[in-house]
C-alpha cells in the first residue's frame, strides 16, 4: 500500500510497518534493496525498519514509523538485541514474559500498583505492565534476569527479604536502581523509592533489613577501594 502524506510518502515495508520517508530517501532505500538483490515489488519494499532508520539518520532526513497490526521490532534486553513479533497494543510485560521467556517480571496487578513487573528502562525503574513494547524500542531494557551477583541479591538472601517471593524480583530491580542512583541513601529516600512495590505477604521488615544490609555492604566495599 502506498499513500502520499504531504510531501512525504509512507509505505508498508512488508513487515507490517508503515515507514514514512521523504521521496528522496525512498529512492535510496530502493537502490540499497536492489544492491542486496532482494525481491521488491513495484510499491512494496521489504526493508527492515532498523535499516530504514539507520539510513534516515545517516542522511539526516525525516523519518516516522507507524505500526499497525502485528509488527516485527527489535528490543535490546539485558544487553542482547531480540526480535519479536508484537501488536502495538502489547505491553512490555507481556512481550518479556510470553515472547522472550523472561518470566522474572511478574504480572501482579497489571495496573501499575504493585511493582512486581518492575524493569529498568535506560537505568530507571518502570512498571512494564504500563508500557507498550513498541515504546521501548531503542531503549536499554534490564530485567531481573539481567541482574546477577549483586550486593542487593546477596542481602535479600542473607536477610530473608522475601516470603513467597512473588514480589522479590520487582523489589530487587528497584533496589538496584536505587543504589546506583543513591549509593548512600537516607531512610526517606529508601522509603520513597520502595513504596512503589507491594509485598502481599507483608514481609517489609525483612526487605528493609536487606536494603540496609546492601547499603552497608556497598559502603564497606567503597571504603576498601
Amino acid at each position: 500500500m502506498l499513500k502520499h502524506w504531504g510531501n512525504l510518502r509512507r509505505e508498508n515495508d512488508g513487515f507490517g510497518h508503515i515507514v514514512v520517508l521523504s521521496k528522496e530517501l525512498w529512492k535510496n532505500v530502493r537502490q540499497r534493496r536492489s544492491s542486496l538483490r532482494l525481491k521488491t515489488g513495484k510499491r512494496q519494499l521489504n526493508i527492515q525498519p532498523a535499516v530504514a532508520k539507520a539510513m534516515a539518520r545517516q542522511s539526516k532526513k525525516y523519518l516516522m514509523i507507524k505500526y499497525h497490526n502485528t509488527v516485527s521490532i527489535f528490543l535490546r534486553v539485558n544487553g542482547e538485541n531480540r526480535e519479536v513479533q508484537v501488536r502495538p497494543a502489547d505491553t512490555l510485560l507481556q512481550v518479556l514474559r510470553n515472547h522472550l521467556g523472561l518470566t522474572g517480571a511478574k504480572a501482579g496487578c497489571e495496573n501499575g500498583d504493585c511493582g512486581a513487573c518492575t524493569v529498568l528502562l535506560d537505568g530507571r525503574p518502570v512498571k512494564s505492565c504500563m508500557i507498550l513494547a513498541v515504546e521501548a524500542e531503542g531503549a536499554e531494557i534490564t530485567t531481573i534476569e539481567g541482574i546477577s551477583n549483586t550486593v542487593v541479591q546477596r542481602a535479600f538472601l542473607d536477610e530473608a527479604g522475601y516470603q513467597c517471593g512473588f514480589c522479590t524480583p520487582g523489589f530487587i530491580v528497584n533496589a538496584v536502581a536505587l543504589l546506583r542512583a543513591h549509593p548512600d541513601p537516607d531512610k526517606e529516600t529508601i522509603r520513597m523509592w520502595l513504596e512503589s512495590n507491594l509485598c502481599r505477604c507483608t514481609g517489609y521488615e525483612g526487605i528493609e533489613n536487606a536494603i540496609q544490609a546492601a547499603v552497608k555492604a556497598l559502603k564497606s566495599t567503597n571504603s576498601k577501594e
Binding site: 505500526y67 497494543a89 511493582g115 512498571k127 504500563m130 508500557i131 507498550l132 520513597m192 513504596e195
Partner: protein, 277 residues
C-alpha cells in the same frame, strides 16, 4: 492485556505529530496523543477508552524542554514527573509533582497529568497559581495562551491540539508558598484534598483539587483571604463559604471531613504567610 488494537506512530517533531493525528482522525480512528501512557494503558485495558491510534510524543524535542527562555521557565509536556521534581526550578511544582509512587513518576508526564481524565490532576495547581502560559500546537497552528483561559475544571483545548509546553514567569516564583496534601492512608493514595497557596507581593492565591472533584483556582476564596477588614481567625471558614461548589463525598472521606481538612489547611497557610511577614 490490552484487548483492543490500535496503530502506533512515533513522530519526531510537532509537524509529524499533527500529520499523524490528522490522518488518523480522517480515517475515523479516534486518535490520542500518548505521553507516559499510565492512564491510557489502564483505561484501554479496562475498556474505558478505545482509541484506534496512538501518537507517541515522547521523542519530540519541544515536548521535552526543561530550561529557561527569557524571563520564563519552560516545562515540556512530555517531561516525566521525576524530571520535574528533580529540576527544582519551581519549588511548589517540585513538591506538588510528588504524586503516585517513585517508579510511576518515571513514566507519568506533566502534560499527561494535566490533560488526563482522573479528577485530581494535581500538577496543574502550581501553574494556575503562577498564572502560567501554555504553548499549544494544533490543526490551526500554534498558540500561546494563559492557562487560566484554557483550564476550567479541566483542560479545554481544540480537538487535535497538543499541550507542548508550560511557560512560567520567574517573577511569579518570587513569593512564598504553602502546600498541603491530605490522604486517607498511604501517601501513594489519591488525595482527600490537595491545596496549594502562593503569596505574591502580599496577595494570597489558592488552588485546590480533590476536595471538590476537580482542580480549580479558588478566586472567591482568595478575595476573602486578601480582605484586610476580615479578622484572620474568621477567614478560613468564610473563604470556604465563598466557594460555589459542593465538597466531594466518597469512600475516602465525607464532605464535612474534607471541609474540616481544607479549613485547617487554609489556617496553616495563613499562619505561615503571617510568620513570614
Amino acid at each position: 492485556m490490552i484487548p483492543i488494537n490500535f496503530t502506533y506512530s512515533r513522530p519526531e517533531n510537532l509537524t509529524e505529530a499533527l500529520e499523524a493525528y490528522t490522518i488518523a482522525e480522517k480515517e475515523g480512528l479516534k486518535p490520542l496523543y500518548l505521553a507516559g501512557g499510565t492512564e491510557i494503558t489502564t483505561f484501554c485495558r479496562n475498556g474505558t477508552i478505545t482509541p484506534g491510534a496512538l501518537v507517541d510524543i515522547k521523542r519530540i524535542p519541544d515536548c521535552l524542554r526543561l530550561d529557561e527562555e527569557g524571563g520564563d521557565y519552560v516545562f515540556g509536556g512530555a517531561l516525566t514527573l521525576n524530571e520535574v521534581v528533580e529540576s527544582g526550578f519551581f519549588p511548589l511544582l517540585s513538591r506538588t509533582a510528588r504524586i503516585v509512587d517513585h517508579t510511576v513518576r518515571n513514566r507519568l508526564t506533566l502534560g499527561g497529568n494535566i490533560a488526563g481524565r482522573l479528577p485530581y490532576r494535581e500538577t496543574v495547581l502550581p501553574f494556575l497559581l503562577a498564572e502560567a502560559r501554555v504553548h499549544l500546537s494544533g490543526p490551526d497552528g500554534e498558540r500561546v495562551v494563559p492557562i487560566l483561559d484554557v483550564f476550567s475544571k479541566r483542560l479545554k483545548i481544540e480537538p487535535g491540539e497538543l499541550l507542548v509546553q508550560l511557560l512560567v514567569s520567574k517573577a511569579a516564583l518570587s513569593g512564598s508558598w504553602y502546600y498541603r496534601r491530605e490522604v486517607r492512608k498511604t501517601r501513594v493514595d489519591y488525595p482527600l484534598l490537595t491545596a496549594c497557596f502562593l503569596s505574591i507581593n502580599g496577595s494570597i492565591r489558592m488552588a485546590v483539587t480533590g476536595a471538590y472533584g476537580f482542580p480549580f483556582r479558588a478566586r472567591e476564596a482568595e478575595e476573602v483571604l486578601n480582605d484586610s477588614t476580615i479578622a484572620p481567625a474568621e477567614k478560613p471558614a468564610l473563604a470556604l463559604s465563598a466557594i460555589p461548589y459542593s465538597f466531594s463525598e466518597d469512600m475516602r472521606g465525607s464532605g464535612s471531613y474534607r471541609r474540616m481538612l481544607l479549613e485547617r489547611s487554609i489556617a496553616q497557610a495563613l499562619g505561615k504567610f503571617k510568620a513570614g511577614e
